[in-house]
Symmetry: C2
Subunit: 365 residues, 2 copies
C-alpha cells in the first residue's frame, strides 16, 4: 500500500520544503521566493499569509521550478481547513495543483531539463508560491504547447474524470453515465472526455439563477442531457431513458439526497463513484439497492491513485498524453478561468468559495 | 443478465405451480398435497392459509418431491409482505428453502432418481407444502447422511456466508472479518466457516437479556470475539486490534448506525457487504470513507447468485459439497431449531418474528 497522508508530506518537506537549508539561488522573482503560507488550520482567508519562503537545497534529485499558475480547488480549501485526506506538517504552503517551468536540475535528474514545463505528479507539494525546489519524482513533464490555464488545471480534475470513466465500468460508445455537480471542474471534464468517447452524459445541476445559460454552456461542451436536481424525481426521466440506455456509472461529487437520487437511475449491477461531498452530507444507500440491485458504491481520490501508481509514471504519462491530445483537438477546454495575481489571493479565495461559482480562480505568480 | 423477479417465478409456476393441470399421483400424505398459500401480500399471520394444493403434471423434466422440512427465514416473511426482491404471482405458496425426497421423475430427468434428497437450487419455489412437482433444474441433490435440520437450512444462510467470505476479499488464515447480526443464521454460519478456514471473527450483537449466554454460545461455535454494539465506539476496540489485524471484510445484516460503525473499523480499501437490513434503516456512508479510505460498499443476494450461475450447477455443487464436508466434521452445525408441524404454522410464524429469536422455526410436513 502506498504511503498515505502526513508521513509522506512530512518526508517530502524534510527534503524539499521551505524553511530548511536556505540556499541562495538566482532569484526567479525580483522579490525572492514567496508563497501563501498557513501556520495553523482554519479558514483560508484567516490563516493564509503571503510570505517569503526560503528555497531548499537543489541536491542531486531536486528540480528548481518557477511556478507560473496555480488554481484554487475545493480540495485546497479543505486541506487548509484540516478536513482533507492529507494533512501537511505546519507551517505549510497551500495549493496542490499548478504549472511551472524548470529553471535548474540536480546532478542525478534525467527526465527534466531547464525550460521544461512541469505539473505535480503528487498532491501536497504546495503550489501557491513563486518558486520551489521539488524532487524529480514528484513532477511530471507536459508538452509546451498546452494553453496555460489547461496546463494549470490538468493534473487533478481532468485526470479524476478520465480515471472514473475508465476504471470502474466498461463504457462502450452509446452507453451512458449520470453525474451530479456537472458544472464542477471534474463535471466539465467528464462531459468532454465522455463526448470524445461517444459516451452519453446525463448531467445534474442545482437549480439557480440563469439556469438556461448554464444548460447552454454545458451543452456546448458536449453534454447530452442537462437536468435540474428536481427532475431526477419526475416522470420525464422515463422519457429520457427511452432515448438512451440507463447508466452503469454514476459520478457523485455532492453526497446526500443528490447521491441517493443518482443511484436510483443506475442499471442493475451499476457503480456509483463518489469523488466529492459538496453538500457535506453522507451517501445514503437503501439496503434494497445493495442486495436486490447489486449497486456498487465506491470512491475515488486522484491523490491516492497517483500514490498507488508512484512506482512507475507510465500510466500517468499515458493519461496526460491522451488528455493533451484532446486539448489540442479542442475536445477538452479548461473551465472558465479568472487569472488573479498572487498578491490578490484574498479576493480569489473569496470568489472561489461563493456558491454557484462557475469561474475557476487561477493564481498567477 | 439473469432473469430476475416475477417473470422467472411466473414461468416456473406456469410449468410446475399448484392449481394447474391437476394430476392424480400416489398421495404422499393421507390428506393429499397441502401448502401454506397466500392470495395477497400482507402480514403472514393474516394472509397465509393451509390449503389443498393440486400437483402439476410430472412432464418430461418434472420431479415429484415429498417435502420433509422447511425453515421460516426472514426473507420468506418479506416475500409474503411484498417487500422482497422477488415477487411471486398470486396465489403462491410461501417458503424458499427446505429439504425433500424424490418420489418420481419425468422421462428426461437424468440427475435425480426416487429416494434422492434434494434442496432448491433457486428461490421462489414455495417450499412450505407437503409435496410438489418441481423442474429438475431447480433442484440440487444433497448427500443422504446430512442431518435433517442442516439439510433444510443449507441452501441459503450457509451458502450466503460461504460466498461472502470467498467472493469479495481474499482472506488468509489469521486475517479477520467483522460482522453484525452475528446471531442470525448467516452470522452463525460465518463464524463456523471462518473458524474452519482459520479466519478470525469479530462478532457484533445487540445488548439483550442473558447476553453472556449468547456470547458463550457463539464462542462455542468458534467466534473469536463477541462484542455488544456499544463496544464498537469504545476504546477497547484499540486493544482488540493489538491482537488481530483490522478486517478487510465487514458483513452487514442490519443497516443503519450498526453498518456505519462496522465500516469505521475496516482497513483501507476494505469491503462492506450488505446481505440484510434488519433495522429497516439504509446504509449511511461518510464521503470521507469512500474517498480517503477507499471503502467498497457492496451487496450480496444468494438468489441472484444462483440465477447468475444457473447455466451450470458446478459452482453450486462444489460449494454444497464443501459445506457438507464441514457438517460431517462437526464444523458446521445448524442453528438451534424447533420443529413445528405444518398445521401449527401460526405459532411458528409468531415465534419467528419475535425480537432476539435464537431458535429457527422449522416446519415439518
Amino acid at each position: 500500500m502506498a504511503v498515505v497522508g502526513g508521513s509522506r508530506v512530512r518526508a517530502l518537506r524534510l527534503l524539499f520544503g521551505y524553511g530548511f537549508c536556505a540556499r541562495s539561488v538566482a532569484a526567479a522573482t525580483p522579490t525572492g521566493p514567496r508563497g501563501l503560507v498557513y501556520e495553523k488550520h482554519g479558514e483560508p482567508a484567516q490563516v493564509l499569509h503571503l510570505k517569503d519562503v526560503a528555497l531548499a537545497k537543489l541536491g542531486d534529485s531536486g528540480v528548481h521550478v518557477k511556478m507560473v499558475a496555480a488554481p484554487i480547488n475545493p480540495a485546497d480549501i479543505n486541506m487548509i481547513q484540516g478536513s482533507y485526506g492529507i494533512v501537511a506538517d505546519l507551517p505549510a504552503v497551500g495549493g496542490n495543483e499548478g504549472v511551472g517551468q524548470v529553471m535548474d536540475t540536480g546532478n542525478s535528474v534525467t527526465t527534466l531539463k531547464p525550460g521544461d514545463w512541469v505539473i505535480p505528479a503528487d498532491g501536497g507539494l504546495g503550489t501557491w508560491r513563486t518558486e520551489a525546489v521539488f524532487d524529480e519524482k514528484t513532477l511530471l513533464k507536459i508538452p509546451p504547447d498546452i494553453p496555460l490555464t489547461c496546463a494549470a488545471t490538468l493534473g487533478v480534475n481532468p485526470c479524476t474524470a478520465y480515471r472514473m470513466l475508465s476504471d470502474f465500468e466498461t463504457l462502450e460508445p452509446g452507453e451512458s453515465v449520470i453525474q451530479n455537480a456537472a458544472n464542477s471542474g471534474v463535471g466539465q471534464a467528464v462531459i468532454q472526455i465522455a463526448a470524445a468517447k461517444g459516451i452519453k452524459t446525463i448531467n445534474v445541476i442545482r437549480d439557480r439563477p440563469n439556469l438556461q445559460d448554464l444548460v447552454d454552456r454545458l451543452k456546448s461542451l458536449g453534454a447530452d442531457y442537462v437536468i435540474a436536481e428536481e427532475t431526477l424525481r419526475k416522470p420525464e426521466m422515463k422519457e429520457l431513458f427511452k432515448e438512451i440506455p440507463k447508466p452503469s456509472l454514476a459520478l457523485n461529487g455532492v453526497g446526500g439526497k443528490s447521491a441517493t437520487e443518482l443511484m436510483r437511475h443506475l442499471r442493475h449491477s451499476g457503480t456509483m463513484v463518489t469523488y466529492g461531498g459538496m453538500s457535506k452530507q453522507p451517501v445514503t444507500v437503501p439496503v434494497s439497492a445493495l442486495i436486490f440491485k447489486n449497486v456498487n458504491v465506491r470512491g475515488f481520490w486522484m491523490t491516492q491513485w497517483k500514490r498507488d501508481n508512484a512506482h512507475s509514471k507510465e500510466k500517468l504519462e499515458i493519461m496526460i498524453a491522451e488528455l493533451c491530445t484532446l486539448i489540442r483537438k479542442g475536445q477538452l477546454v479548461a473551465p472558465v478561468c479568472r487569472e488573479v495575481p498572487l498578491a490578490d489571493y484574498q479576493a480569489a479565495l473569496k470568489v472561489s468559495q461563493e456558491p454557484y461559482v462557475s469561474v475557476k480562480q487561477i493564481l498567477r505568480m
